[in-house]
């Protein structure tokens, strides 16, 4: 890779493509990969389209190169176009993919998940993370014949109507009428909620730690998860762990295992197939007949190529002990960035698990300084975000980390000079 460019990147081809897109696609690029939900601030500092990706990097359609700490918002866990995963997927593609009957590859993957994930007695496959969180809620309601769901404030469990809120367009009050909210790490509040609605709560759903957007991420307090487990058992509430985001980066046996408990249901997606599209809900034996009773399927949910890719991905993650690698790399990257900020008189806060670190410049309460820093980084080839936790992948090299810190330092210098 070249040295830190003196001039920021330009994106002529990206913007021309975006103009084409805006004519035929609502908002041009809707959703989290687009300028709005992706928080492209300021708008013109960010490209719109990529042309290729390999390992820890991708290139935009103007030819600009980026070290990518978003990893497609999580799926890239081994490195883009990992040769082992791609070979397994290609081999399966030569045989079959979407057919009238499923491939036994589905059984192979289910067996691998049951052997790997500590709390899993079975696996049910779908495509997106939201498919599995919705399935988990339906399963809990079918199993308990109760209506209410307890969420942790600041949650994100997908985009189905039940995951949204009273004031969201297109979401009816009835869609969220049975949603209850408790603060993170608040066992006493959770118990009060369980007592107040005793016999009515089907499930408690939570990510393994609070990795909400725009706020410092918060790990579970000592004893928190065991306390949650005990309360769920006491009140007959199904404990659902949404491991869509953190899964496969903290602990290959599941993030519930990482924090010392076993969930009743656990949701996986993102990193499970290194970019090949599938998701899985795993769960306990006592819920197996409940999930089997549901009407829940999709056109591509049993496609064989992603199953083969997931088997190769999980096998390789085990071989390289990916969670240990991610923890070490994450600590190296975040400590380097925090130190670089300090050299320019700025205060960077890194929070959450090192494998999925969240960054925030804490020198103002508006995130404007942080948004400036992110924009300078992106325009020099370091893809970070101002709103979301980051993701590590196993292909990140020592040289990548050095280059990361070099660009981060230059961006801090520019921000400090502009705001000094």
């Amino acid at each position: 890779m070249t040295q830190t460019p003196l001039a920021p990147y330009t994106y002529q081809a990206s913007f021309e493509a975006f103009d084409r897109a805006a004519k035929v696609i609502p908002a041009g690029v809707p959703g989290h990969l687009g300028p709005s939900e992706g928080c492209f601030i300021p708008n013109r500092a960010f490209p719109r389209f990529s042309s290729r990706a390999e390992g820890s990097r991708f290139w935009d359609i103007d030819g600009n190169e980026y070290i990518d700490y978003m990893c497609g918002y999580g799926p890239n866990v081994l490195g883009y176009r990992d040769p082992d995963v791609d070979a397994a997927a290609a081999a399966q593609a030569r045989v079959e993919d979407v057919v009238t009957l499923p491939s036994t590859m589905m059984i192979d993957l289910a067996e691998l998940l049951v052997d790997t994930v500590a709390s899993a007695d079975w696996a049910f496959f779908a495509k997106n993370g939201g498919d599995t969180t919705t399935l988990a809620i339906m399963t809990a309601r079918a199993h308990t014949r109760r209506k209410k769901i307890v969420f942790v404030k600041g949650y994100y469990h997908g985009v189905a109507p039940w995951t949204q809120k009273l004031d969201y367009p297109g979401v009816l009050e009835e869609d969220v009428a049975h949603n209850l909210y408790v603060p993170w790490n608040d066992l006493a509040g959770l118990e009060r909620m369980f007592q107040e609605h005793e016999g009515q709560i089907a499930a408690f759903i939570s990510t393994p730690y609070m990795h909400g957007n725009f706020v410092d991420n918060v790990l579970p307090a000592p004893g928190y998860w065991q306390g949650v487990r005990d309360l769920c058992d006491k009140y007959g509430v199904v404990l659902i762990m949404d491991d869509v985001r953190a899964g496969w980066r903290l602990d290959l046996a599941g993030s519930d295992h990482h924090y010392g408990i076993e969930a009743d249901l656990i949701c996986f997606c993102k990193a499970i197939g290194n970019g090949y599209n599938l998701s899985a809900l795993c769960g306990k034996d006592e819920l197996k007949e409940s999930v089997a009773s549901l009407t829940y399927t999709g056109s591509y949910w049993m496609s064989a190529v992603p199953f083969a890719a997931a088997i190769a991905t999980i096998t390789k993650l085990k071989e390289i002990d990916a969670p240990s690698l991610f923890r070490a790399r994450g600590e190296e990257v975040t400590s380097g960035i925090v130190a670089a900020a300090a050299r320019h008189g700025l205060t960077m806060v890194a929070s959450g698990e090192p494998a999925l670190f969240y960054l925030r410049l804490a020198d103002d309460d508006s995130l404007m300084l942080h948004q400036q820093w992110v924009a300078e980084c992106v325009q020099r080839g370091l893809w970070v975000t101002s709103h979301h936790n980051h993701f590590l992948n196993a292909s990140l090299t020592d040289d990548d980390v050095s280059r990361t810190l070099e660009i981060a330092d230059e961006a801090f210098r520019l921000v400090a000079a502009r705001n000094g």
Binding site: F18, A22, P26, A27, G28, V29, P30, G34, P35, S36, C39, I41, P42, N43, R44, K165, L166, D167, Y168, P169, G170, V171, L172, E173, N213, F214, D365, S366, L367, M368, Q371, H387
Partner: protein, 258 residues
Amino acid sequence: MLTELDPRVTAHINAHAVLGALPVLVARVPEAAQALAALDKPTTVLFKAPGVAEAAYTFTREGVTPGAAAGARKVTLRFTSPAHLNRMVDGAAQPIPFGSPAGLRFLVGPFSELADLLGRYLRPGPSDLSDPEFAETSTVMTLHVAAAAIAQVANHDRSGRFSASMVPDGEVALEVGDQIDLRLRVDDSDFAFVRTAPSAPPRAALRFADLTVAGDVLAGRASALGSICDGTLGMRGYIPMLDNVSRILDRVGHYLGD
């Protein structure tokens, strides 16, 4: 998303946001200023409806200011219900006026002229908008109404209060280029439209590239999301504030839309 509207919230919007654009109207439109040129003394008009926070505007030869003024002639418009107030603003009902003969003459004279002009600028016809100066004033007034209505919806509407409960303290700016910087102040989930000039940077800002973009977004001719994506509507700062203010603005659109 609530599908029903609350007439009490509509009345708050009408009393405090729609009529709240009168100062802008008189400041920008010579015809409106002319309507007050012959005013013999300051006159305060009060709007009273059950369940609606009282609104008052004081009219002088120099302009209109929100609130009552000591020593001013007082005229009170009473309404039997929030819906009655709303019908008056729509031109479909009459208020019950209380005041001196001079005060009542003010109502049927200058105030009536201003009300007609207000309606024309806030609901312009196509021929009005072909005049660039008219269109600009109309958009500026609409922006003021929208900003003031955000505060009313945030404080009084069920959906608005839900959104407001998730907005941290601080000021949110609605900017148009470098010309306009309207502020909403949030304090413990309570919203206020700030009518004085800003004195400090906001915690978060929505920035329309120009008045045309602002007019298109506020009139629903362009989506806010699409405008953010194409860069004509910029955002910066603490985005959760903007996220929730945008939801309240959507709800404002339900109340003010056709």
